[in-house]
Structure formats: structure tokens, C-alpha cells
Amino acid sequence: MTSLVVPRTELSREAHSGMFLHAGAQCIMSNDIEVTIHNQGDVAIINIKGDVTAVTGEAIEEAYRAVCLAGSTKLLLVFNKECYINSGGIAILVGIVSESQGNKQIIRITGLSEHFRKIFAMVGLTRYTDIFPSEAAALEGF
């Protein structure tokens, strides 16, 4: 299993000092995102922990490019349950999913709260990805 940690401490302070609302309606400040990659079989699993925004989403894009370079065609995005994803972060995911179509890759997603599952469906992400309730369920038959 390989693992890649992409801390986002080098992101400009100004660029990600905004206020974000968690699903639990808590109001917190988020500066970092932690993205790790590991493989399970032929599936590249990208674990995402933190706030996904237009700025921090670049870490996910980097992880996706690393996976593409490794030649993976099966990707599983695992969001931490505490993850908050704003519209900028969704744009990043839209871009990745859109690109995966050209790369003949299959992307599955898990770890989303009910709220974000609805958002993902609303913006159309679920037209090109499947969302699973658990990592085990997502890996089953992948």
C-alpha cells in the first residue's frame, strides 16, 4: 500500500481564511486539508480529511494527477465524515469527475453525509459516479 500525504500549509493565508459552515452547523475556521492515497488491489483509494474548497481542492487535484500517473483506472474517494465541501470544492470534484470520463476511469465515492449526497446529486456528480454508504461497500465488486 502506498500513501501520500499532501498537507496544504503552503496555501496562502489570505486565500483560505474564509468562514465555512459544517453540516453540523458549526462555524469553524479551516486552514488545512489532508489527502492520502493508498491502493487496495487495483483500486486507488484517496482519503480526504478537512474542508474541501476552491483553494484546498488543489490538494485533491494533485492526488488525482498522482493516481493518473500511476495508471489507476479505479478510484475511490473516501471523505471523512467531518468533511465540509463548499461550492468551490464541488467545482474541483466536477472537474475531476469530468476528466475521469475522458481517461476511462471509474470513480466511486463514500463517506458523504446525507446532506452532501443530496448536493452531489443536485449538481449532477451522481450521473458519473456512484456513492456508497461505506468503504467496504464501495470496494465490493469494484
Binding site: 489570505e14 461550492s87 443530496k118 443536485m122 449532477g124 458519473y128
Partner: protein
């Protein structure tokens, strides 16, 4: 998997579910609006603002691509552009087209509505489905374009309304950022100007400091050069107009005064050093006060002699009058000096003064290590000669000084002298006072000579300079006062010669002590001889004369 709702297995959609989804969509949009204001409102870089907003707009609608432009009207070019998933070639063509269309609009070829329609026509080939133009301010405008939604649905009027609202937020954020940049640039410019001015001021201050240091050095030079020898008023005048003072050397028509204590050299040998210092300091102190009062420049102290210039470095048109008045005042001040000497048990001293007027060279004389404001020229040497012919209490002046001052002088006598370095005899004038505004005169009173009942034999030697030289002559002292005497002698000694006399008693035995004098008159007819003014006498001689005078009084 290509299903909007993969975990919803109960078709058809009911109204409630539709309403619920619409409600959630509105909530999501509201959150987006809130977050957009939070995120882009905190940014100051227009490019970052546009990039963040475009991503958030794309995320809000699930658009597959998007582009945003900002056009600078004044510069006639695209100021910022950001895109997502756009083809690069198409983007370049689109950028050119947008720029051209906006410039056309700027030039008045089309209006903003027509521009929007043209852009949208262009964007259709780039699969941009919606275009929202915006105006930031009179200088900047732009637009946001979005590609097809991932869900495959068209943009609704509500979407367009939300997009317009987001574009409005963008214009506010951009306007603030551009104003911030303008202020920042102004501040940078102002800061640069302040730094430039500060640097200029620093240089000016350094120059001023240097100039002050030079001025201070110059002032110090003047103070050190003249402070001790000029009145404070004259020094202040020099400092106030330093350019008026040429110290480099120049010819000047000045009057020179030289004073000297008569017989003081022989007196020094008979006094204790501290007594000599007391006498000379008292004398010089009194004389300096007088000289400074008449604005004379004390050029030099030479032992007990003083060399004073009138008319340099500061020019006084009445330099000769000042010099004469100063000389008279100096002689008058000797009364006080001698009164103090007498009180302290010290001998009285007499001063002779020579004054001459002529053209000299004045300026800084000396080497790099030591320079001094000085005076050179024949008139200086002649002044010293004139002074050497004086007896105590006398002021002798040259003809040039007499002519310079004019008829306000009181002259007691005039005399012809021959002196070294001058071919023909010169006339000296014995000054007793000056009228006019000065109105200063020496007290009158002839020295009273008593005829001695018995002649006192004397031997005398003519002094050369301050040294004994030549043969000893004999004579007889026939008349006597406390200041001089009359001597019969077969030898004709020139007037103004300095002599040393040795007295003997009636038995021909030498009387202890020394007596010095200057011959002030020569008698070549009748009994030959001369009148002598005593310049110095030892206490033994004083006692002897007192005994003689008491007998005859």
C-alpha cells in the same frame, strides 16, 4: 449508475419530494451566496477573486466548464481571465473576440446589449451556454460564462438570477480590490516619493551639517586668530560677514602702533620672576583693554612690546586717528598701572609708543601647521624704529601718520632722525594729544632740573641695541631731575642714543648700581654735552639722586 438519485428507488417523484429538493437547492444556493461573499470579500487580488468566484459558481450549478473575463477600458486589453476546463485554443480566440467586442463597445460601435449578444454567439461554439456581463466601474467591465450543467438541464431563470447576484458580488469585490490596489499603488508611489524626499532631505541635511562644520571651523579659526586680540564686537562683525574678510593676503593702508616699556630689560635682572610677571601682566592687561576699546588688532606681544594694527582685518577709515587716540589713552592708563605697582612695592615703568601709517601686506602668514594673521612691510619696521627713539611716556609718530590725522593733533616737538635702512633723515613728531571726537591729551609739565652745586663725574657708554659697545666716555652731571639730567662732555654723542652711565662720588669712587638713559638733546655750542632722559636706575642710584635732590631743595 448514470442516475441523479442512485439510492432512491421509489419513482415517480412526488410533489413533496420535488419541493424538498428545490428547498435544499435554494438552501445550497443561499449558502453559496454567503460563502462567496465571505471568500472573495477577503481577497485583494482580482485574479484570485475571479478564480474563486468562477469555481464556486461552477460548483453551484455543476457546470462542466466556465470562463470569466475582466477588461480594462482605459488600457484596451483584458486585465484578468480565469477558466475551468476550457480548450486553450478556443480560450485564446474567445479572449481576442471578447477584447475586440468590448473595445468596439468602448468606441461606441456597439452597446453593451449588442456586445453581450455577439459574445454569446461566439461562446456558442465554445459550448458556453450562459453569459452574464458585469460592470465594475467606469474603467473595468467583464463577464462570466458557464458551460453545460453536469445534470444536463438548461439554465433556468432562477439560475440566471442567482448568477446575476453572484456577478454583483463579484463586481463589489473587484471594485474594492481595484480601489485597494489603486490606493496601494498610490501609497507605494507616495512611499517612494517620501523616501525620495527623505533621501533628498538627508543629503541636504548632510550638506548643511558639513556647511555648519565648515562654518564652525571658520568661526573657530576667526575666534582663535582674533578672539584674544580683537574686541568681541569686531569678532562678532567678522563672524556675521565672513565673506567680507579676506584672509588670504592683501595690501592695506593701515596705521601701526608699537609700544615698549623703556628700560624694562635692565629692570628684569633686578626683580624676582614673579614680580616681573606681575608687572608685565598688569601692564599688558591694561594696554589690551585700551587697544580693544579703540578696535585695534593686537598682532603680537614681543616680550613687553605690543604690535597693534588699525585698519585690518576690519577696515576703519579713521585708522590713524584711532591709533593716536589709543596711544594717548595707553599712556594715560600707565598712571593707574604705576599706582598699582607703587602700592605693591614694585618699581614704576614707562612706556614709549611709536606710530606709523603706510601700505602693508596683511593676511595669514606661516606654514600649514601653524598660521597666524600677520602684517609685513617696510612701514612695520619703521614703526619699530620710531618706537625705539621714544623715551618713557612719549608718543612719536611719522609724517605719514601726521598727514593722515591732520591738524587735530597736538605736537610738542619734532625731530629729525637718521635710521638704518632709510637713506634720508625722517621727521618724527612728539604727540601730546588729539582733539576732535577723541579729545585726549597727556598732562603738561616740564621736568624741573636742579643745578647741582657740585658736578658729579660720570662715565658713560653708548649702547648698541641693548648691548654695551664702544669706548667709555667721561663727563659731568651738572643738572638733575628724577627723570633726567644734563651732562657736560667733550664727546659729541648723537641724539637719541641710548647710554649706560656710571656715577662716581666726589672722590672718584664708583657709586653702586646702574643708570640707563636716552640722549634727548645734544649741545654742540658752549659747554658741549647733552640732556639725558633716564630710562632705568637701580635702587642705589635712586637713593643717591634723592640725597642730592634733598640737599638742593
Amino acid at each position: 449508475m448514470n442516475d441523479d438519485t442512485p439510492h432512491t428507488s421509489e419513482p415517480p417523484l412526488m410533489d413533496a419530494e420535488h419541493s424538498q429538493r428545490e428547498l435544499e437547492r435554494r438552501i445550497f444556493h443561499l449558502k453559496t451566496l454567503y460563502e462567496v461573499s465571505q471568500v472573495i470579500g477577503s481577497l485583494r487580488d482580482p485574479q484570485q477573486i475571479m478564480k474563486n468566484l468562477l469555481l464556486m459558481v461552477i460548483g453551484t450549478f455543476g457546470a462542466l466548464k466556465g470562463v470569466a473575463f475582466l477588461v480594462d477600458n482605459q488600457q484596451g486589453r483584458i486585465a484578468a481571465v480565469t477558466q475551468r476546463s476550457m480548450d486553450k485554443t478556443a480560450l485564446a480566440a474567445l479572449s481576442q473576440a471578447v477584447e475586440a467586442i468590448y473595445l468596439d463597445e468602448i468606441r461606441g460601435v456597439t452597446d453593451i446589449q449588442q456586445a453581450g449578444e455577439k459574445i454569446l454567439a461566439l461562446l456558442a461554439t465554445s459550448q458556453i451556454q450562459v453569459w452574464i456581463p458585469f460592470v465594475v466601474n467606469e474603467h473595468f467591465k467583464g463577464g462570466i460564462g458557464l458551460g453545460a450543467k453536469m445534470v444536463g438541464e438548461p439554465y433556468t431563470p432562477n439560475d440566471q438570477e442567482l448568477l446575476s447576484t453572484l456577478a454583483n458580488q463579484l463586481t463589489v469585490a473587484l471594485d474594492n480590490a481595484l480601489a485597494y490596489m489603486e490606493i496601494h499603488h498610490l501609497n507605494v508611489g507616495l512611499e517612494a516619493t517620501v523616501q525620495e524626499r527623505t533621501a533628498e532631505l538627508r543629503i541636504a541635511l548632510e550638506k548643511l551639517t558639513e556647511a555648519n562644520q565648515q562654518l564652525e571651523l571658520h568661526n573657530r579659526f576667526i575666534r582663535e586668530t582674533f578672539g584674544r586680540y580683537l574686541s568681541s564686537a569686531v569678532v562678532a562683525s567678522l563672524l556675521e560677514s565672513p565673506t567680507g574678510l579676506e584672509l588670504g593676503g592683501e595690501k592695506r593702508h593701515v596705521t601701526i602702533l608699537m609700544s615698549d616699556l623703556r628700560g624694562f630689560t635692565s629692570l628684569v635682572g633686578r626683580l624676582a620672576p614673579e614680580q616681573v610677571v606681575t608687572i608685565i601682566n598688569r601692564y599688558l592687561g591694561a594696554m589690551v583693554d585700551v587697544i580693544l576699546q579703540y578696535e585695534g588688532t593686537i598682532n603680537e606681544f614681543i616680550g613687553d612690546a605690543i604690535l597693534v594694527i588699525f585698519g585690518a582685518p576690519l577696515w576703519w577709515p579713521d585708522h590713524a586717528q584711532r591709533a593716536i587716540a589709543c596711544a594717548v589713552a595707553m599712556q594715560l592708563a600707565m598712571v593707574s598701572v604705576n599706582a598699582q605697582n607703587q602700592r605693591d612695592g614694585l618699581p614704576e615703568v614707562e612706556m614709549g609708543i611709536g606710530v606709523n601709517t603706510g601700505e602693508v601686506v596683511v593676511g595669514n602668514l606661516g606654514s600649514h601647521k601653524r598660521t597666524k594673521y600677520g602684517i609685513v612691510g617696510t612701514p612695520v619696521n619703521l614703526t619699530a624704529r620710531i618706537e625705539s627713539y621714544t623715551i618713557g611716556g612719549q608718543i612719536l609718530i611719522s609724517k605719514t601718520t601726521l598727514q593722515e590725522v591732520g591738524p587735530i593733533l597736538r605736537i610738542a616737538q619734532q625731530m629729525e632722525i637718521e635710521t638704518k635702512g632709510i637713506d634720508r633723515p625722517i621727521t618724527l613728531y612728539d604727540v601730546r594729544g588729539i582733539g576732535g571726537e577723541h579729545n585726549l591729551f597727556l598732562p603738561e609739565g616740564e621736568d624741573t632740573f636742579l643745578l647741582l652745586s657740585k658736578r658729579i663725574p660720570v662715565k658713560y657708554t653708548v649702547l648698541e641695541g641693548k648691548y654695551l659697545g664702544g669706548p667709555a666716555f667721561t663727563g659731568s652731571l651738572v643738572k638733575l631731575s628724577f627723570k633726567g639730567g644734563e651732562i657736560y662732555s667733550d664727546t659729541l654723542v648723537p641724539a637719541w642714543s641710548d647710554i649706560r652711565l656710571q656715577l662716581t662720588n666726589l672722590d672718584g669712587e664708583p657709586i653702586p648700581g646702574h643708570l640707563y638713559g636716552k640722549i634727548i638733546r645734544q649741545y654742540s655750542e658752549g659747554p658741549t654735552g647733552f640732556s639725558v632722559h633716564f630710562t632705568s636706575m637701580t635702587p642705589e642710584v635712586v637713593a643717591f639722586f634723592q640725597s642730592l635732590l634733598v640737599v638742593h631743595m
